[in-house]
């Protein structure tokens, strides 16, 4: 195992993965390990269970691998996650359709027994948000994407992402049970 610090950027690794050299596999593996948890989390928010999330993540990474293996070369113009996210959404939608489960799935992921009580209220409030508003809120707040990156990932105009975030916050603020989360 290579224990050297991983200093290569995503763009450098993408280039290497497309080089058809012996280093291509290692480059892809680094990209995979760097973004795996993010992709799995994103997939989990869009799918009914862990297995469906793993399937969606698998499809997203295979899609990336397929893209890296055919010309023209992929040039990364933003974070790799903004490229992967549409693939995750697509795969998650396919998985949900296959399992004929309700489309309006909870975005917050599985609940945990050790969560504080306020988390339950927040989780319920999130589930009541329109899916598109929920997605923007989580991608921006939890995953740390800028609104420009959120817009790219969701393939919408930036103004739309901004507006959805604004409306999501408005709805949450109106919820009495979440008042403490809006206090300074």
């Amino acid at each position: 195992m290579d224990l050297r610090p991983d200093t290569q950027t995503d763009a450098q690794l993408i280039e290497l993965a497309q080089s058809r050299s012996p280093d291509a596999t290692e480059a892809f593996e680094k990209l995979y390990r760097r973004h795996r948890d993010w992709v799995v989390r994103a997939a989990r928010r869009l799918t009914p269970d862990d297995q469906a999330a793993l399937d969606a993540a698998h499809d997203a990474f295979l899609g990336l691998m397929r893209r890296l293996s055919v010309p023209p070369p992929l040039k990364l113009r933003s974070r790799l996650t903004t490229y992967l996210y549409p693939a995750v959404r697509h795969a998650a939608a396919r998985a949900a359709k296959k399992r004929t489960l309700p489309r309006d799935l909870p975005v917050a992921g599985p609940s945990a027994d050790h969560e504080p009580a306020a988390s339950g209220s927040l989780r319920a409030a999130l589930d009541r948000l329109p899916p598109a508003q929920r997605e923007v809120l989580v991608l921006h707040t939890v995953e740390g994407l800028t609104l420009e990156e959120v817009a790219l990932a969701m393939q919408t105009p930036v103004g739309t992402a901004k507006s959805r975030l604004h409306k999501a916050l408005q709805r949450l603020r109106a919820d009495e049970s979440l008042r403490e989360l809006f206090e300074p």
Partner: protein
């Protein structure tokens, strides 16, 4: 339809809300199975001749068309193809007769294409002498087999031999 509003400023997410959202959104999932599934495929990225998803759409269409035409011919002439052959043909070493059935047919192309797909190619299948075995070889054999396969003539192998010699 999108709800546009470019003019408004970026809304600030309160710190406590952000923390709470992060807390409920980050539940660990066991990814060992995913690691195995994805990284098993990643091994193929560095091997130019054996990765099935390197195919261009044009080549796929071309090969698919050639294979479809060949298979149609094979079905039409199946009674002839399935008759027992002489020992000399069964043992023949005809160029490109990779399945050793005494003829060069689309089935030889299929054998090569399947080998490329599965990563189990034989160096002897380098029909176009390019130094690597890939779909170009399957393509070339399929086209040759389809183009030179008449309905009522001597065994294909003889014609291929003469074509190769000429």
């Amino acid at each position: 339809m999108h709800d546009h509003d470019d003019s408004q400023s970026e809304p600030a997410v309160p710190a406590k809300l952000a923390d709470a959202l992060r807390q409920i959104s980050r539940q660990p999932i066991d990814t060992r199975e995913l690691d195995t599934r994805v990284l098993a495929c990643a091994d193929r990225l560095g091997s130019p001749s054996s990765f099935p998803i390197r195919l261009s759409m044009g080549r796929l269409v071309g090969l698919g068309g050639a294979l479809a035409a060949g298979l149609a011919l094979a079905m039409v002439f199946w009674p002839q193809l399935s008759q027992p052959r002489s020992a000399s043909l069964a043992q023949s070493s005809i160029a490109n007769d990779f399945d050793r059935d005494g003829r060069v047919t689309v089935l030889d192309a299929y054998l090569v294409a399947r080998g490329v797909r599965d990563g189990t190619v034989d160096p002897a299948w380098d029909a176009d002498a390019s130094g690597t075995v890939n779909l170009s070889d399957a393509d070339a054999i399929a086209q040759l087999a389809v183009l030179l396969e008449p309905a009522d003539s001597a065994p294909t192998s003889e014609r291929l031999d003469s074509a190769g010699a000429g």
